[in-house]
Structure formats: C-alpha cells, structure tokens
C-alpha cells in the first residue's frame, strides 16, 4: 500500500510538505531540529490535524476515515513512551489488537497467536511475561514494533526509532524494520543510518521539503552544508558500499 502526503501544512510549523512512500518502500525523513519532521509525522498518525493538505493511502483520504479504521491500516511508534502502569510485555503487544476489537469482544485464539508470532519476529518471545517498565531501551523498541505488527497494518510510521539506543541496538532495530516488508516512513536523526537503511530520503528544512530521492543522490556534502551548516566529506562504506558522511565542526575547520 502506498502512502502519499499531499502538501501538508500546519500553521507556523510546516508549509506544504509533499512526499511519498511506495508499497514496501522504506523512506526516511531527515532534517535539523525544528524543521518539522515530527510535526509532519504526527499529521500522518493523526495526533495532529493539519491545517491543510491530505494524507492518502492508496489514493484514499486517510484523515477522513474513523480513527479506528485508519489504525487498522497504519501503525506508529511515537515519541511518547511514558507508561504509567505495570503492564506485561504480552499485554502491551496485545494492545495492538485494539483497533480490531469492539467493546465486549474477547481475545480469540488468533489474537494470542498474533501476539506470540509478533514477539517471535522481533526476537522478544522470552520477554512476554516481563514487566514492560523493566525493559531496556532496545527491548522496548522491539516490543513496540511487535505491538505495531499485531495491528496488522500496511504502513508503519516511526518517529526516531533509534533514539537513546546504543549502536548495536540502532542497527538491530533498523534491520528489523527493513525486514518487515511494510511500507515504512520514519524520521531519523542520523544521516548515515538513513543512507544505509532507507530506499529513499526526504530532507526537511524550515518546514519545507528541500530534497528527496535516493540517499546517494540526496545526502551530499553540499546539501549537508546548506541545511545543517556543517561541512561533510563523502566516503564509501568499505563493505556495503553505501555512501557515508564524515563531519567537521565548522569552528574546528581550518
């Protein structure tokens, strides 16, 4: 299922953002702090109503659907991960069934199977009975991806899924996301991770899309200089061959 943002605007923050993610494509959104990345994403997962524009899922207007219905097509990992109560991992993952359930529907055999399968897919089956609050950052992120999976969505939206993770867990989470086979739109801070794990990237600056395309075409030293004000040198990853950037602090540069 393909996702298309058609000139999304939020007064004073983002102005006419248009970008897309084709079926099964992993698309990154990068840009400096305050460039409107998270705001754009919040419009997609409907935490924020844009003042203009449309979000289209296979050409259909997502924002006019009932919330429950859009939640069956599009799952999201947001930045608010504050959990007040002591839920088990299995309970947290089972919450992904919410959009498929009426008020008095009971959990079926299939619901349990979906939870078990999803936990196995993110390699967290052994955590099922643990308290969610006691998990490490990397484990939490994997469990939340499992929750998104039991939602059975076509599109997955992630807001900085690698935040606060060590490098090993960053790579694990992104490899996991890539392997899901879903249409993915995610905000990333790390340009090199974006270059390594995204099919395409969009660069936001000042609430507008300033570039979009294959990482190799978009993430150039010129663009980094223009958008981030940082000098960058392009190198090739010695093993995978993907373009990677080495940065230079402006004041340190000769």
């Amino acid at each position: 299922m393909d996702l298309e943002l058609d000139s999304i605007s939020v007064d004073g923050i983002v102005d006419g953002i248009s970008l897309s993610a084709g079926t099964g494509e992993v698309v990154g959104v990068v840009g400096p702090n305050g460039s409107g990345k998270s705001t754009t994403l919040r419009c997609v997962y409907r935490a924020l109503k844009p003042s203009g524009g449309a979000v289209l899922l296979d050409g259909r207007d997502l924002l006019s659907l009932p919330l429950k219905e859009s939640a069956r097509r599009l799952a999201a990992l947001t930045q608010d991960s504050h959990v007040e109560f002591d839920f088990t991992v299995a309970e947290v993952v089972a919450m992904g069934r919410l959009p498929h359930k009426g008020a008095f529907d009971r959990d079926t055999e299939r619901d349990h199977d979906l939870v078990t399968d999803a936990l196995r897919r993110v390699d967290a089956g052994h955590l099922a009975e643990r308290s969610f609050l006691t998990l490490s950052g990397g484990e939490r992120q994997r469990v939340l991806i499992a929750r998104a999976l039991v939602q059975e969505p076509d599109v997955l939206v992630l807001d900085e899924p690698t935040n606060h993770l060590d490098i090993r867990h960053q790579l694990d989470v992104l490899a996991l996301v890539r392997g899901l086979g879903l249409t993915v739109l995610m905000v990333l801070h790390d340009l090199n991770l974006a270059a390594a794990y995204c099919d395409r990237v969009h660069v936001l600056d000042g609430g507008r899309v300033v570039a979009g395309g294959k990482p190799a075409d978009v993430l150039t030293p010129d663009l980094v200089q223009a958008v981030f004000g940082v000098r960058a040198h392009l190198v090739q990853h010695p093993v995978s061959g993907v373009p990677q950037l080495l940065f230079e602090h402006p004041e340190v540069s000769p």
Binding site: R46, P66, A71, T78, H82, V83, F87, A90, E91, V115
Partner: protein
C-alpha cells in the same frame, strides 16, 4: 501468558463474591448489639422470600432489616464505586497517585454538605438535605473544574490534576470557613463527621440511586476497559491505536465526576479506598483493565463493609468516621506497597 492470568482471575472472582456475601452477613451481624449469624441469615431469608418472623424477634429483625442491612449494602456500593472510579481516574489522568478526589469534586460536594450542617440550608428536604446539597455542589464543582481545565486540545492529564488540586484547596477553604462560622459546636462536629465519611443514619432511600449509578458507571468503564489500557500508553500512542483521546477523556470525566458526586453525597468523602484498592488489585491481577475493573469493585465492596464494621465496633456507642479507619489501614498499606519489590508503582 494472558491465558495464565485469566485462569488465575476467575477463581479469584468467585472467591471475592463468596467473601462479599459473607461480609454482608457479618456486617449485619456485628455491631454494638451482636446478632448470631444464623439468625441474620434466617431474617434475610424471611425478608426476601416473605417468610414469617416470631413476634419476639421483631426488635432484632428491625435492627437487621431497617438499620444494618441498608447500611452494609451502601458500604458495599460505596466501596465498589470508589474503587472503580479510582481505577478509571488513574488511567484518565495517567497518574498512579490520583484518586477520586483529585478532581476537586468531593471538596466541592463538601461545601454544600457543610453549608447544610452549619447554616441549615435546604431544611425542607429533611434527612436528604445534606446529600442533595452535596450532589448539587459536586455538579457545580465538576462544571468549574471542567471549564477551567479545558483547552483547545481537550482535557490534558496534567491540567486536569493541577486544576482539580487548585480548586480543591479553594473549596476546602470555603468548607473550613463554614465550619469556623458554625453557630454551635454540634454543627461543626456534624460537618467534620461528614468530611471524613460516615454511613451512620443510612436508610433504604439512598441505596437504589447509588447502586444504579455505580452499576451503570462500572458497566460503562468495563465496556471501555480495552481502551483504558490504550489510554495508559500515552495520548499519541492511544490515538494510533484508534482511540479518540479527547472524546474519551471528556466522557471519562463526566462518568467519574458523576459517580464521585453521588458516592460523596451518600457517604461523605471516604479517603484512601479509591487510591489504595486499585493498586492492591493491580498487584494481584496485573494492570489490564479488563481484569482490574472486575476485581476492584468486589474487593472494594468487602473492604468498606469491614471498615464500617470497625467504625461501629472500635469505640461503641460512639462511631468513628470512616476516613479515620481507612487512613489507619491505608497509610501503612501504602508505604508497604511503595517499598515492596516487584511492583512498579508508577511509570518511568
């Protein structure tokens, strides 16, 4: 996994129903005039099936049927209601330390009730004057808190807690002013008693309304149990799970405020039940609201029956306010809860 918990919950529910039935009988039997359990059961049977009572038993039958039973049943209803409201409010404002009184509604109700006790308002309503005044001022307080906390983005948890707390201080100041201005000590004492909660002087009149409100409110919350789980994960996450957070919180506010208003009107402001019981229940059955909302009312009902028994029995013929007993039980229990390993009290 979840199946294990379900298997563990059903016997617990059966056990709690048995305990509740036993508590009702014990609550009726125990008091300054103790009545043997067998006779209590016999009287209740006779009352329900229309059997005959010997003339010599008429006095005891009156105590059982007219005085003790409505009081015990109301204790059960109030205990159940406060526990359920506590669970719902903690989820609604996403704060483990919230209780039914955090929204300022009970403090608002106190103003009305104390005004009746000290100024003699609504005298024409007789014994219902305090309840009527408490409920009306609870409604007023609800409206005030709602209007003050409301933003364009709906009711946010933090604003609700802050507004409720601030308003509660205002209402408490008014209440204290009324108590100090009281014409005689007896009025001040009546006001104090009401503030700490009491089921003394309860008749059958108050029971149907309170029971109906608690039953309907609990049913509504049970129907929303899955969504309360979602709401506990944060507003944005709840939205991505298909929950209209703004509308849900508004409805929860109305339901919990209405329930609190009615409960406070019939029993005064009994503290600690709505804070403690939800945590005790979560410790046993976990945080899934589909289990918590089934177990909490049963546990809360039995709990308050025994609290009321203690209130009658500790220093007869004087009765203690319920709040004194719940605090005496609640504070150590709460400290124990907080220090206990393995129960993660609130979020991180």
């Amino acid at each position: 996994m979840t199946a294990v918990r379900v298997a563990r919950t059903s016997p617990l529910v059966v056990l709690l129903v048995v305990v509740l039935a036993a508590s009702v009988v014990a609550g009726v039997a125990l008091g300054p005039v103790s009545i043997p359990f067998g006779r209590v059961v016999g009287f209740l049977q006779a009352a329900v099936t229309g059997g005959r009572i010997e003339a010599v038993d008429a006095g005891q039958y009156r105590i059982v049927w007219d005085i003790r039973l409505p009081r015990v049943l109301l204790a059960a209803v109030v205990g159940a209601g406060l526990s359920v409201v506590g669970v719902a409010i903690q989820a609604m404002v996403r704060n483990a330390l919230a209780d039914p009184y955090v929204l300022g509604i009970s403090s608002g109700a106190s103003v009305g009730a104390v005004a009746v006790a000290t100024l003699g308002l609504f005298a024409s309503l007789g014994i219902y004057a305090m309840s009527a005044a408490a409920f009306l001022s609870a409604l007023g307080a609800t409206a005030l808190v709602y209007l003050a906390a409301r933003t364009r983005a709906g009711l946010t948890p933090l604003r609700l807690v802050l507004t409720g707390t601030a308003m509660a201080y205002g209402f408490q100041a008014l209440t204290l002013l009324l108590v100090f201005q009281a014409p005689h000590g007896e009025a001040a004492r009546a006001a104090m008693f009401w503030l700490l909660g009491s089921l003394g002087g309860v008749t059958w009149g108050a029971l149907p309304v309170a029971a109906a409100v608690v039953a309907v409110g609990t049913a509504y919350l049970l129907a929303n149990a899955r969504r309360l789980n979602g709401l506990s994960m944060g507003d944005e996450t709840a939205t991505t799970l298909g929950i209209d957070v703004v509308r849900m919180r508004r409805r929860l506010f109305v339901v919990t405020a209405g329930m609190t208003g009615v409960l406070v009107a019939v029993s005064g402001a009994v503290g600690f039940v709505g804070l403690m019981l939800p945590h005790l229940v979560r410790m046993v059955v976990g945080s899934d609201h589909r289990r918590v909302l089934v177990v909490a009312p049963l546990a809360g009902a039995s709990f308050l029956i025994w609290v009321d028994v203690a209130a009658r029995m500790v220093a007869p013929p004087e009765e203690l306010p319920l709040g004194v007993i719940t605090a005496a039980l609640g504070v150590p229990c709460f400290v124990f809860l907080m220090r206990r390993r393995g129960y993660v009290f609130g979020g991180s």
